[in-house]
Subunit: 416 residues, 2 copies
């Protein structure tokens, strides 16, 4: 992708009303724009990152048998009355149809998926079943804040599992937990994201959160340095040592909740009287689990982790970078154009998909300083500089993983 | 994908409250489920089709310079008051935040994209600009009906173009029109979908719709059989002959509006006072175009066109089929398993992406009649039957494009 063809507009100034590192950086660098408090538009740079996060999440959900569906934003009041949450959940957005029927903007989808699955399966033979979606969610937050970390409208992956027995749920719960670890590791925040014990419910002692350690997080957790397992502050009174090794010297940390998994038991199947016949023909209750992962919130968390405030720059993890490579030409456009074309051709040949997603070439007629400033905001993991100096030294200057080397022009395409 | 691993549930009976061919078929065959009137959930079969439609639309939009963004479902009242549509548009869903601010669920995004682009560009150098998204849209319809054809919540691709001059808009408008023709052709409904002249506005004599001819359509158009160009009934009084050849013998047809393109002029840029400086430094108004294409409505239209009511079966166009190939084993599971694995392996080798998307193998322990009945609902363009009879004849029986032939087991993988 050439910069002159790309919808990019960076700002020197931090927007006046940005309330967090992720929002101030992402708005300034042209990834997102604020439509209203807690509601954002995603520009091409930001949407590329979201799609890459989604794809990684999708791959790992599919690997553990998840099947993707898409449920609606709207749901009728009746579904939410069945579980009592129409009255009890204060963050529900409510509205009416033209013929005065009450609707809800779903903040989560138990109330939609339970009747959906109930109408489709009747036998133990159809279980277990794992369904997930990536869909907009809505929370009528009194105070939206922290940019993508606490929005009124946000993208989430939510999976729901349906089981005949508690043992089957317990097994699958561990599989999802492992899949989440893989996801956060692939997203570049594996070493900062810890399994955190949180309040359970009637059906299990704990639920579990995936908390990304960050000074800007809203949550407080207590971390066992030995096991890399944590406890959410909300249950520290009941559980004041490491549930794994008993260590009582826990370290207080701020963190961002990027995922949570929960054993629901029959909490949502019972109100809908969702039962199936077992092998003996007897009707048995359905046991459920639910597994959330905030797509846009994870985007915000990755930003908080990788943005270098001192240098006011970012280098994205390779797995989510909007562009793998950026080419900067210092008055050597002819050579730069050749490098760009060879990288694009290699990208197509190697079946890596759309080369527009791989290589960004800043072909604009602006100063070197402006190009470098923007490159610090675009954050490609590999940077190629073509200048009089690099050509004299034998080729182009390539920076990657904090290392810089000179590579011959003819060998640049091997980078991909 | 094996049937035993797939979330599939077909119904023998047509659902009682289905109000159209597409809804009754798609619900019965397990593609979609109705969450409430005009609001559907998409099950794995249906979502696969939607993703394939989206990808084709995306490719053609990118080819004409479109850049993908994602705008929110929610917008503040103020944006909609600027254009007067907060009061005038009766299908707007309205709701309130916790602190009593009025919001809208966007049925279209002019009111969001104009201030967005205005805040990012100031010069003629940034024009023209073409931005699109694929996003949920909402209409507070008094009577939702016709399944996916007139919903309260639906997926749309909407593109907005920004120009300095009317000539530039006129040129681009033709490009989009050509791209739409390619899209509908790739989706298998090109021969049924006609460019239709409809009411314009202050800035152009006509707008244009893409109407898919179907007896179940809500719209009435008058078609010139010579030019394959039509006129919407709403303007037939002013324009009663073919705008292309003057033919006065027009044929009345029912049709489904799957896309529309519109020259907006300054209708939405003016209320936001969106102007940029031209080459001479003078502030000039922005000229806009908008280009809609209903993703879920097109899904419905394809269903209406390809569903064979007499035989109660469908064969999807290859480009959108949830599975390219279905394998049916008649008591020959060992051979069927081998064919399935060879097709999967070939699918991976040829880089065609996820083989789960290509091959459906009905490995269920049910009768041949039930397998064939379900195969008629899944509608794979290629059907492979493995039976005693086919093996005696020398291999497997392959049906494709209404032709049936026997192919050796070893050569089946060449199908992909």
């Amino acid at each position: 992708m050439k910069a002159t063809k790309f919808f990019l507009k960076t700002e020197k100034e931090i927007p006046a009303d940005a309330d967090s590192i992720n929002a101030s950086f992402l708005i300034r660098a042209g990834y997102i724009q604020k439509t209203m408090a807690g509601v954002y538009s995603y520009l091409p740079l930001g949407l590329k990152i979201i799609r890459k996060i989604e794809d990684i999440v999708r791959q790992e959900m599919n690997k553990i048998g998840g099947q993707e569906i898409l449920m609606p934003v709207l749901a009728p009041k009746e579904n939410w009355q069945k579980t009592g949450r129409f009255e009890s959940l204060d963050i529900l957005y409510k509205l009416q149809t033209a013929d005065k029927k009450d609707l809800v903007l779903n903040p989560t989808h138990e109330e939609v998926i339970v009747p959906l699955v109930k109408s489709m399966i009747t036998s133990y033979k159809n279980l277990p079943l794992y369904l997930y979606q990536i869909q907009d969610k809505f929370r009528n937050e009194p105070r939206a804040k922290s940019g993508l970390l606490r929005g009124r409208e946000f993208l989430m992956k939510d999976m729901y599992s349906f089981h005949l027995t508690q043992e089957d749920l317990d097994d699958y719960y561990e599989k999802v937990s492992d899949a989440y670890k893989k996801i956060f590791s692939r997203l570049g925040i594996g070493d900062k994201t810890v399994l955190t014990h949180a309040a359970g419910g009637s059906f299990s002692k704990y639920s579990h959160e995936f908390q990304t350690i960050s000074e800007t997080g809203e949550d407080t957790i207590f971390l066992c340095d030995k096991c890399q397992v944590a406890i959410n502050k909300e249950i520290i009174v009941e559980q004041n040592n490491c549930p794994k090794c008993g260590n009582e010297k826990l370290v207080e940390k701020k963190a961002i909740e990027v995922g949570n998994i929960f054993k629901l038991g029959t909490k949502y199947s019972a109100p809908f009287d969702f039962r199936v016949s077992d092998a003996g023909g007897k009707l048995v209750e359905i046991i459920m689990g639910c597994y959330g992962l905030g797509i846009t919130r994870t985007f915000g968390a990755i930003t908080e982790v990788f943005f270098d405030q001192e240098k006011s720059k970012i280098i994205w993890p390779e797995s989510v970078a909007p562009f793998a490579i950026e080419i900067i030409s210092l008055n050597k456009n002819e050579e730069a154009e050749k490098v760009y074309e060879s990288l694009r051709a290699r990208s197509i040949d190697s079946g890596r998909g759309n080369p527009e997603d791989e290589v960004f070439y800043d072909d604009r007629d602006i100063s070197a300083g402006e190009k470098f400033a923007d490159a610090d905001l675009i954050g490609a993991p590999i940077r190629i500089i073509i200048s009089e100096k690099s050509l004299t030294a034998g080729g182009v200057e390539i920076s990657r993983n904090s290392k810089t080397e000179i590579v011959e022009l003819a060998k640049v395409a091997d980078l991909l």
